[in-house]
Symmetry: C2
Subunit: 566 residues, 2 copies
């Protein structure tokens, strides 16, 4: 059997190694356009920033090492020009000398990946504008920084690559401005969760232009000018373009393979394309979303690796199925961790999936043990069954742990009742006896079973101001003095029982505290005395975070209060 | 409704708070024998070691704060002398003045906890011998250390408290010797996994006497002499006795409640005892093991808290069930993390549960990103269905994350096939595209579906030495030179294909590498050429770790090579 693999990173490299392990006799050829195989794609920003210092660390595998260990014929700088399904062959160009050749196959795996979007804007080809995908791109940016010692960078796009580059360029001493077309960074998380990231970026000295489109670039005496909508400009020494990726599928399209949305390659759950003996894996393929069941694009390394393994299994006569992607992802941003799994509110709305949500703010480990920090956990669940639909966490220590527990729970089809019961490992340096995931479960079940009714930050502006409802803040005097929702009555929870007479029992009470825990207790006290009451999910802290770092008008064109023009 | 709770830590305090949240009008009384309520039980060793500096941090809740927030009547230094189920009352002694009183109840919750085992040995009451359970115990040890500046400590018992005390006393500059009756520390993990902990303790300067029983204590001119079996003695300035805990259930027994094993309190899944209106929770109760289904004792804070909540729910008319404990636990030991969930080999054997196992040794995060360290993961699974039965991990960064993912998988009834597919969050600082949990799944499925056959460290001594089998080491020359299994042929995996002629195809081949990954690839090469071959699970590293830090004779009385007599 002869297997040809187009693309030698994540999915392609995994498929090659698995194929060999399953079939010692197969002929396996990997055709890779770039000069590198199986490179550390996700590590590239960290080489630029200097966290990864040895460039060899980025390319642990070489064609030679792959040959030695796996007897795989890896041909770098070999670009496939065309697939000929009827002949079962591909046309390949050697980039070294421009010559071409035909390579036949019995089975073909496409792992072409996705390429950075590069819109056709005026000035887009300026030499100081970079995208980041390959090792070559990385060295290009690295060399530019070394030779030109830039002081200012504009990063266009506030997704994974954009923010990782913002961090790494900041580490290098550059002053960084991130420009994002939407009103938030990091689309895997919702707007309200992103507001915490906005605040943190500002804290780290990164300027943020939200709701701002780039209209073009032009050279200037003192650098490169990035022209934004509404006539604003940003002058910098370099620009990183990181506005997303698009599946690289011109070969698949020209070969007549059935395509999915946004030009992706359509595959079945065995990773087979519409043409026999051609498989496709990785960022270029359309996958089924594990939670919504709809077809979608989820360009992540974990799924790509799993798909490569599955394609290899099927080629070798096994029956292996890909059950869908759930978008588990995590970003390190300076000391912060931003993570998500399953669907967020935007995705739920688009898919027409009914949901409810809770925001919890819980300590990474026992607060009496040094070093604990709180994390904001947003959990989406089915309002009937309680099934967990998605989770997002913004915080520091232990965020990655909790998102992985929640990712596992989603994969298992668990409900928020199950989250309550999860027996996670506890010792003071690692967690609390009630883990943040348990706490999310408790909060959600309290909502589901009617123990507490809740309201959200976005409900606050709409609360009647005619005196028909009571707003109650149950925090301490010190906390209240530092800021509160306008018009709130202030009674600390610990003296609430003695001050009940100050609350009109005929009016609904909208209660808040700092994080939502004390106000939940206050709600239970009030309920016990017959009041109709509501708990502010996430508390004043979350409300204020949104107010200060995004605002309550969540229309995409809203210019964020953080935008600092230069 | 009047609820009396005996015991105001973990389970009792949780029950009290939950009761109040569910019933604003209930009368709730907590009777606590010690002087403190809801204290940081698991944090006590860290106050002694100085990691937690503020003693107030240990006692965040006070009777007054509990009263203010939850309107709960907490009476510390109130010891219950007897329960009178027929009168529905308890007899209480005020420890301040010795007076007694009767307190009636509608519902009673027992949360008495467990007390340190204190065997009746000669000299056991010496003032330099301490146990650690309460805040008072903690202050006593803390004061002793401050006033006497001890230089040498003997810790009897190598479980959680014993090793946490060993670490904390080492931090204080003491020379610490741990004495353990078994041939291993940390019984939640198996002997072979514990050998890695033995090595680490040695590395940290902690002396270890395994397979050694304490027969008594006697004063000496230069301190306190601990007398071990076989005539050995250890002289030190203080002794910590941490040989386990026993349920504190004399009240329950005298009241005629049905008891479980080792004097524990028998309860049903609603946490009801055998007498109506009396509930019991926490370390004193017998629970069903989630994996084996048998009754057992699992004294851990997480389960205690959940049980307290469940008892409160049921008292308030809800129907809430405890589905069992799975023994998820974690220990910080200097920079090491030791964690377990589900059952280990010992427990599986005792329960008569068939299992298979894989040992994997995988990086905490992408190796090209700084700071990654490997962890040893032992996964037990059902050899037919592949259902995950238990997991143990010894390592550093990210161990707690993976055990929690595995704990969630076990709770969900997942199989090792599911572990393969788990979509966990990946970015280089946090994980690899194939997470250690995925890797454990891959390794287990390879065994289950026959892709590879394996052997274990304990099989090595039994391999025939008559030349009827081939032992093959596939590591590099440098690795092989540092140590190898006697009698192995040495062919690095990367040149194996060219050297196949050196291997007799009629003989089974027992292959090893450092961790088991390269030898797996070698096995696949050999299988492809018709060889019958076996992969050493965990590799030479794991084999050698056991050999050097415990030995192959695993009978409990085996004196460990680490024992350094003083």
């Amino acid at each position: 059997m002869k297997v040809v693999i187009i693309g030698g990173v994540a999915g392609g490299a995994t498929a090659a190694a698995r194929l060999r392990r399953l079939d010692e006799n197969a002929q396996i050829i990997v055709l890779e356009r770039s000069g590198y195989v199986s490179y550390a794609n996700c590590g590239l920003p960290y080489y630029i920033g200097g966290t990864i210092q040895n460039e060899k660390a980025l390319t642990l595998q070489t064609p030679e090492s792959f040959k030695r260990r796996f007897n795989v014929d890896v041909r770098v700088q070999n670009e496939v020009l065309a697939i000929r399904p009827e002949q079962k062959s591909v046309t390949v160009r050697r980039l070294s000398d421009g010559t071409t050749y035909e390579e036949s196959y019995d089975k073909l795996i496409l792992s072409p990946g996705a390429k950075p979007v590069r819109p056709n804007l005026p000035g887009i080809n300026h030499e100081r504008i970079f995208t980041l995908r390959s090792v070559e791109d990385t060295f290009r940016i690295h060399r530019f920084v070394e030779e030109n010692a830039p002081k200012r960078a504009v990063v266009v796009g506030g997704g994974f690559i954009g923010l990782e580059m913002a961090e790494n360029l900041t580490h290098l001493g550059l002053s960084v401005t991130v420009v994002e077309r939407l009103n938030q960074v990091m689309s895997p998380i919702d707007y309200d969760m992103a507001c915490g990231v906005h605040a943190y970026l500002k804290d780290k000295g990164v300027s943020l232009f939200l709701g701002s489109s780039v209209e073009g670039f032009e050279p200037a005496d003192d650098g490169l000018r990035t022209i934004l909508d509404k006539g604003r400009t940003l002058t910098s020494d370099m620009v990183i373009l990181a506005i997303g990726v698009t599946p690289e599928t011109h070969l698949a399209k020209e070969a007549g393979l059935r395509l999915g949305q946004r030009g992706s390659i359509a595959v079945n759950d065995r990773m087979e394309t519409s043409i026999p003996d051609i498989y496709a894996v990785g960022d270029a393929v359309e996958v089924r979303h594990f939670v919504t069941g709809s077809e979608t694009l989820i360009p992540l390394a974990g799924p790509a690796n799993k798909q490569g393994r599955i394609a290899a299994d099927n080629i070798c006569g096994r029956d292996s199925r890909y059950k869908g992607s759930q978008g588990s992802s995590v970003l390190k941003l300076f000391d912060m961790t931003v993570a998500a799994t399953g669907i967020n509110e935007d995705a739920a709305k688009k898919a027409g999936i009914e949901y409810d949500k809770v925001i919890t703010f819980t300590a990474s480990h026992a607060t009496y043990y040094p070093g604990a920090s709180n994390m904001t956990v947003k959990t989406l669940f089915d309002p009937q069954s309680g099934k967990v639909l998605g989770a997002q966490i913004v915080g520091f220590e232990g965020v990655d742990k909790r998102i992985d527990v929640l990712a596992t729970a989603i994969r298992a089809g668990m409900t928020v009742y199950d989250l309550e019961e999860l027996e996670l490992s506890y010792a003071p340096p690692y967690s609390s006896a009630k883990d943040p995931v348990n706490m999310a479960g408790f909060a959600a079940v309290n909502v589901l079973d009617g123990t507490v009714k809740q309201y959200h930050w976005h409900d606050v502006p709409a609360l009647p101001k005619d005196g028909s409802v009571t707003l109650l803040d149950t925090r301490t005097d010190e906390e209240y003095a530092r800021g509160h929702i306008d018009g709130t009555l202030h009674i600390p929870v610990d003296v609430l029982r003695e001050h009940l007479s100050e609350l009109d029992p005929s009016k609904p009470v909208y209660v808040n505290c700092q994080s939502g825990l004390r106000s939940y207790i206050a709600c239970r006290i009030l309920s016990g005395h017959g009041y109709d009451c509501y708990n502010l999910s996430g508390g004043w802290r979350f409300y204020d975070l949104v107010k200060q770092n995004g605002g309550f008008d969540t229309a995409p064109a809203h210019p964020c209060g953080l935008a600092i023009e230069k």
